[in-house]
């Protein structure tokens, strides 16, 4: 079991390769994602995570369909959303879909929740974007109850009331999927994660680190406030992005056309400025290791590190090569993070560890009853 998890996350965009003008078909891209998940397992990584988007150019509208298919072709890696929309999905359907996926994958599924990044999507699913934060809170509170309580009576503002409702199947071993909450600017989301003792994830891609430090620190403080442990024991995940070559100059030269035309930051800052100011690494394996290790300096020792590698129209062959290269430096990354990790920082939670923790807590309360 690893104390820290490393993996790959994708938003599943279909983007033209700026070097040769070709664009994969949706079919090719979906199949490519499956191949990426299998490669993630093959090179020894721990997690594969996929986004949920409902507009072009993305193909990730149905994360549970995608991940169930992937889970059937892998044995070890944990699947996660990055993110699933807690605002536009009915919490009842989330409870059901991810419970089925949890059973099919033998506990290899986490649910990372977020608001989504597009205002129009709310109205497509009958919701009001101006109520996004209230929706997030109410929907998650209902999801939590559907998984934690066998029979639920519930009434809220945004959904039909439930009377004597049981969400099936019940979570595997009575322990629901691990939940992470992702946000880069909403304190209420950090508060939600802290209150329930869930994980908190910052995508750590587009902006300088300072933007993420504030909410991660807030989450750690509030996690302690609600009695889940010390601030440094809160469960934190981070994103990051990388393009590697053995030689740093080659990496910069070959990645530049993709960077310059990338959908999010292309035609903006220079590659040099962006790598200096944000978590992006374009360089040698050694530079990648050094930069990634600095994340723990800024955010505290943490539990999960995901990398974005399949974006900006990079060809599938290159994406798989990048994952191979991450696999090659993985033992060093694990060793270095382990070496700097203080004793009190918890391991990355897994289904097995969470079942064990639940059993231990139950045994303790039985002991107390016996003594009393």
């Amino acid at each position: 079991m690893s104390s820290m998890q490393f993996g790959i996350f994708t938003v599943g965009d279909v983007t033209q390769d700026p070097t040769d003008g070709t664009t994969p078909t949706e079919n090719a891209r979906i199949k490519a994602l499956v191949e990426i998940a299998k490669k993630t397992e093959e090179v020894g990584l721990d997690v594969f995570a996929s986004g949920q988007q409902h507009n072009p150019p993305f193909v990730t509208t149905s994360p549970t369909t995608l991940m169930a298919y992937m889970a059937a072709q892998t044995e070890r890696i944990v699947f996660s959303t990055a993110i699933a929309q807690i605002t536009t999905n009915d919490p009842v359907k989330l409870a059901e879909d991810y419970a089925v996926l949890q059973h099919l994958s033998d506990g290899r599924v986490d649910l990372m929740l977020g608001r989504g990044n597009s205002a129009p999507v709310y109205s497509w699913f009958g919701q009001d974007p101006t109520r996004a934060v209230e929706l997030t809170v109410e929907n998650y509170q209902l999801l939590r109850r559907l998984w934690d309580e066998d029979v639920v009576d519930w009434e809220g503002r945004f959904r039909t009331p439930l009377r004597g409702f049981t969400a099936t199947p019940r979570p595997l071993d009575g322990v629901p999927p691990m939940v992470w909450h992702a946000s880069i600017r909403t304190p209420e989301v950090a508060e939600l994660a802290a209150y329930y003792g869930d994980g908190y994830f910052a995508n750590n891609i587009f902006w300088p680190k300072e933007h993420y430090i504030r909410l991660i620190n807030f989450y750690r403080q509030r996690y302690a406030h609600y009695g889940h442990g010390e601030p440094e024991q809160a469960i934190v995940g981070l994103g990051g992005q990388v393009f590697m070559r053995k030689n740093s100059q080659d990496a910069i030269r070959e990645f530049r056309p993709y960077f310059d035309n990338a959908p999010v930051y292309g035609h903006g800052p220079s590659l040099e400025d962006f790598t200096a100011q944000t978590p992006l690494t374009v360089g040698s394996p050694q530079e990648f290791i050094e930069k990634t290790l600095t994340f723990a300096d800024y955010f505290g020792d943490y539990q999960r590190q995901l990398f974005l590698v399949d974006h900006a129209g990079l060809p599938q062959k290159e994406v798989l090569h990048q994952i191979d290269m991450i696999g090659e430096v993985l033992p060093t990354l694990r060793k270095e993070f382990e070496a700097r990790r203080p004793a009190g920082v918890p391991d990355a939670p897994t289904h097995a560890s969470r079942v064990a923790a639940r059993d231990a807590a139950q045994a303790e309360s039985t002991d107390e009853e016996v003594r009393a």
Binding site: V133, E134, V137, E138, Q141, G156, R157, P187, E188, E191, L192, Y195, R214, F218, Y226
Partner: protein
Amino acid sequence: MTRVVIVSAGLGNPSTTRLLADQLAAGVRRAEATASIEVVELRPLAHDVVDATLSGFASPRLQHVVDQLGAADAVGFVTPVFQASYSGLFKSFVDVLEPDALVGKPVLLGATGGTARHSLAVEYAMRPLMAYLQAVPVPTGVFASPHDWSAEGEGALTSRVDRAVGELMSLLRGAGTGRSRDDDIDLFSDTMLSISDPQRRG
């Protein structure tokens, strides 16, 4: 004791512009219970204002209002938004003032409109006028649309009023606006409190 005069350029009766002026007055009262606060409506002075623009001098009752402004520690201006800007009556009243009447005077700015789409009129119309007069408007302008008068919107309006008044009071104390780009997260908003107490959901 702080003397505050708030000028309302509303035309209707009842007038949402007057309502907003009263909200600002209540905000000042919350901030300083003993403050002297006067709300002046321009509607009854409309003819006096037009007469003054023609004759070049103010009638006694209009002059009284001008004098009140001069003696006040701080002034509030609230206008309806007509055709994308402050009302003609409001501007005509300002035209009657001596160019230096408001130099250095801390000012609260408020406006009302039929839809939230007019909200930036405070910033692009009222604020430049204050710049010309060399008055000192506080950074927070308070705009109210019909939504703000519903049960749903009222809390947000009150918090904007309190923020603008807080800036005004801080300016009067010589402490700047009293605000900075701090990292304070509001732990006591309704949504924040509903996380640990679902029953609270409003």
